[in-house]
Amino acid sequence: MLDSFIFLGLNWQAWITIISIFSILIVMAKTHVPPEIAFLGSLTVLVTAGVVTEAEGMAGFGSEPVVVHAAFFVVMAGLMQTGVLYWLTKNLLGTPKDYKEAIVKLMVPIASLSAFLNAVNVVALFIDVVKIWARQIKTVPSRLLVPLSYAATLGGSCTLIGNSSNLVISGLYADQTGYSLDFFAPLVPGLFCTTVGIILVLLFRNMIPCRETPESSFESTSDYTVELLVPTENNAVGLTVDEAGLRNVHGGSLIEIVRFDKEIITPVPSDEFILGGDRLIFAGQINEILELKRTHGLVAADHHVYSINEIDNDRKLRTAYVGFGSDLINSRMSENGFEHHTDMVLVAVARQGRRVEGQPREVKLEAGDTLLLECPPKDDREIETLTKGSLTFFDSHFVPELGPKTVVASIILVVMFLLSTFHILPLMATTMLAAGAMLIFKCCRMTKVTRYIEWELLLILGATVVFSTAITKTGIADIIANNVLSICGHNPYIIMIVMCLLASLVSEFVSDVGASGVFFPIVYREAIALGCDPMPFVISLMLAVTTSFASPIGSSTHMLIYGPGGFRFTDFLRIGIWMHIALLAANIFIVNLVYPL
């Protein structure tokens, strides 16, 4: 009696589980602790407290969603390296005449593609293509990146492998029932929602925000940090910054001087002398500050320069970004030897469209950083080959060679789908087989293949599965299920609506994967308690967690376009809320039509 009063009918294990889940939410929202660490930390609490056994705690990492994902990363690497994906990006999209047409011509093929590849991968693949498209139809990339993200996630909801959350739910379903879901189980509801989604994006297209992209912000936005060197022979040597006209320059100002002996002078007083070898750090409009090279004889260089004549006049500026898995991450340009190796010089760094404080060459680089580099007058492709594995240029010319391996990789992909679609082998086995085939047929290099695997995502997926186990085991699922039933009555339609609404709301704040792990056991218990077939509940849950488009956190594809599109956090809200509501309605409608209760 006392127990039920104090603990609301839940045992202490249940409370530890609940507190752990909420701690993850708080840690993710309030700190910079990486999500995978937050998840693993809470998992440790569950195992230590004995809420789940050691075997249960580790079972998540060997579960279907984790293994399928890991294998699929390798398959994707093969498709990427053999040029299959390149071929698709070049040939899948037509040439649009206007914005409206562009939306349709973008969303339909992207949705179809991401049903068979992973939605997140598809978005990553098409970001650059979409940027080029945007230029063609004279709009900003952000206006096309949002439709891209919607199309990929909606298309991904059509099959089990399209969205990570589908895999999680199907894995949990198989654990509960012993039956695996059909590869195309969510196809019809998914297709319907995708169609509704495309129509809605067309209708609401004016709500899609216009944002400048990070690389164009190098040209237009003020407030970037640019580093230039004073050659020994420069006329300004021995003068004060004011006398040399280098303090307040057109379009910016001198914020810092770094001397040859690493002494830093900031703020820079007007009577500060200029020495040869000084690195002058300016903040302001990049283009205008770079004019100082011409007007004042300053240079961009990684080593000391005596005379401006040592610098090739034909050097040109190019923007590139630090991709995930780049070997430049966590290093500084002044230390990593990259500039020396490639003959390039880092001029400026931008992070999420904003300037990074301090000396660009001393900035610890992060994935997603946009770099402005002065490149040697070499062939663009030569430069890209040289920087492979470190940087991706926005105006990339790199073309993977198409050849027999392209065909082999495509065949592997098709066979993988056929095997799992016709239940010849389970999904886990087919993806592992496909990954193995990619390696055996040398469609991707064995040595660097682990780089393509996003271990962080796998850790989160594994932990999510364990949380789902804990929620079931501790009785939280039963209690919440029973409480929802007692509040909402025993009408299965109302229960389904309420649960989808809750799941999709929660998924706006946590990832779709997290929400599916938490809600699956509850929804499943409710279906059983109601004496209904769990199938419609499960499918509606799959769609509900993926249609959370109002925040960048809820949607993994939104997260991906967030940086490249130059978006702000609230940008997705305006169109996202309407999409959320409309897609939820479409979801309930179609699921009940296809899988009647």
């Binding site: 020994t232 040859f260 002494e263 002398f273 020495l275 040869g276 000391h304």
Partner: protein
């Protein structure tokens, strides 16, 4: 860091001894005040015993140079060691000062 300032042949001579690093340069700024006052004369900076010079030290030399330029004097630097020579080469001091080796 020791700076010994003397009057010689109608000009000023400052003998630097030790390391003119950043903290020393801050202190030295006050010590060279007599040189600033005599910026209309020839000022010789004797670096025979100067072991090291930081950018702040160079700044001090430049300030003297500026002062003499306005008042009609002149700065001569003598007997720098090889390390300081390298620093002078990089910073462009050979173009700014008369540098002698006795």
């Amino acid at each position: 860091m020791v700076i010994d300032i003397q009057e010689q042949n109608g000009g000023m001579v400052a003998i630097f001894e030790g390391r003119l690093d950043t903290p020393a340069a801050v202190k030295a700024q006050q010590e060279v005040a007599p040189l600033m006052e005599n910026a209309d004369k020839q000022i010789t900076l004797d670096c025979t015993k100067l072991e090291y010079i930081s950018s702040s030290g160079l700044r001090l030399f430049l300030a003297l140079r500026k002062e003499t330029a306005t008042k009609g004097g002149k700065v001569i630097i003598t007997n720098i060691n090889d390390d300081i020579k390298k620093v002078f080469q990089m910073t462009g001091f050979f173009n700014l000062f008369e540098i002698r080796n006795d």
